[in-house]
Amino acid sequence: MALFLDIFGYLSVVLRGLTLLAQSFTIGGLAFQLLLLRPLQAELSAAAIIVGKRGQRLLRLSAFGWFAIVLAALAVNMAALTGTLELSLGEAAGADFARSGFAVAACALGIAWLARTGHWGRARAIMLVALVGLALAMQLNLTHAASRLDVRWPLLAADFLHMLGAGIWIGGLPYFLLALNGCRSEDDQRRIGRRYSLMSMASVAAIVLGGTIMAMAYLGSFAAIYGTAYGVMTSAKVAMLLMLLALGAGNFLAVERLRRRDPAAPLLRMKRFVEVELGIGLTVLLTAGSLTSLPPGIDLSQDRLSWSEIVERATPQWPRLSSPSVDQLTISQLQAKIDAADAQRVTAPQAYVPGEGMILPRSAADIAWSEYNHHWAGIFVVLIGVLALIERFSWGRWARHWPLLFLVMAAFLFFRADEMAWPLGPIGFWASWRDPEVAQHRLFVVLIILFGLFEWRVRLRGQQAGRAALVFPLTVAAGGALLLTHSHAIANIKDQLLIEMSHTPLALCGITAGWARWLELRLDGRISRAAAWVWPVAFVMVGLILLDYREA
């Protein structure tokens, strides 16, 4: 139980993110069937029937996934409840959240059961819509909106609009991609593109309207945007929404050219943009999962970050390139600064989620050690970005060996990540494997080595690398998404929030780098060439943020 409680906070966030993914894909699949394929049925070619069946299969799979994930989330929450309060399973299952969760799971199972492949009669279609509506209404019981003590209906309506819009637009993207790849006739693509474009625009309006109402109610002031974790995560979501809107605008223009029967309409570009939209959309939903685990910024009035504190932390300083030795741990000036900050900390009542972990007191040497590691990692990443830029020039072919820097980075991490383990610390190499954190670090080291060797081979093989080249952008984008999917200290601990301030732009740069490289590989022409410059620059940015990383 102790181990379970240790990971409970993170597990809850991941399950919440996955719930939103499965929910959106279910809503998107149903909307695609009922608002797009069904009304256009008479006008589309026979290929659309096959696309429709594939879409129905994906919809069933999503609904089954939704059912399974909601049950898993319920099991985790009920286990935590029974484990911490010595309640019986029946008492835990009687909680309101559990009843709402069971209702959502039943709806999802019903959708999976009803959404069979083939023609849907009117009654089946109505019941599917009713089940989705009911599931969303029940899902509202698990959001901030339902918990407010003040007027709740505007917030409930805003949340409903937000989730419905995200479901139809982001959740509809895999189905749109299926249709674009499955319906080869230009007439089909024009009709499907036009209709999906209209659905997306209406969804964006719903997302923005719902999001604005919630942001105003839950943040309450400009200072909460940068001063609280809720505000920082909301800003990350807005940044990703802007990326999605830019891609969506590109697709809108492509659809308009298709509608005008322009033979040069950029169809391939539209498909590739949809792929990237899907990737960023998944990240937005995972971020939303992380965001829902936080109390609204408006409720945190103490220990907020001030603008001057952020500026002070972000002001560039010379990187720390020398490290304290393991047994010599005193940097008096820095230690005094930490002590002063600790003394000033407002005595806000502490609150935490089981498994969030105790925040251990940090010594100046701990901070120096961590900053040194981040700064050297930053140097490696800047070098990787710069070499990838140099590789773009005709005289810079030699720089294509940059993935080998990942091997150097892996060696650095192996030596530095666990100061108490061999070779720096007193714990032997084999004995140190008993510590799960050490084992996790070693696993990362192996993955970085494999990743470096893999990408090096791609660089050497050039155009012949094929799909293997896609591993690099997908891994980088997934890394960015993982950085945004984390549990938070729910009391507004300033130091953690300041660290988060640097991790959020890191994640956004990672996402930009990954998907820009994807576009470079998957497209030709102007956009591919531009993307080839964007991702190394994003890498350099990641490196610079790491170089400016400070913990005090």
Partner: protein, 121 residues
Amino acid sequence: MSCITRSLHLPVIAALLLACPGTASAHAIIVTSQPASGATIDKDAVAIRLRFNSRIDHARSRLKLRAPDGAEQALIPAADAPADEIDAEARALRPGAWHLQWQVLSVDGHITRGDIPFNVR
């Protein structure tokens, strides 16, 4: 009604039967507390009043006192507390450093815990 149509209604009915929860709540954090964190009390009894930012599930929330010698004692929350509060009475407090440990469940399933240290003089 055909057999197929009837079978289609089953999941809808099942979902409707389950779909009757009351109000729900999100993450609960303390807005005000009595005693305040770090407060010093001159009496041997104190009225505990923790107010949260949202509604909480009283039946699945707990309050506990940890005495200066480490002994723990569960407190019985008042039944008539407002939706966003947990109230209780602590008596016979001897001088020393005490901890009020709380755990609440917001109705949406978020569990929050906390510890309020206070001194009795």
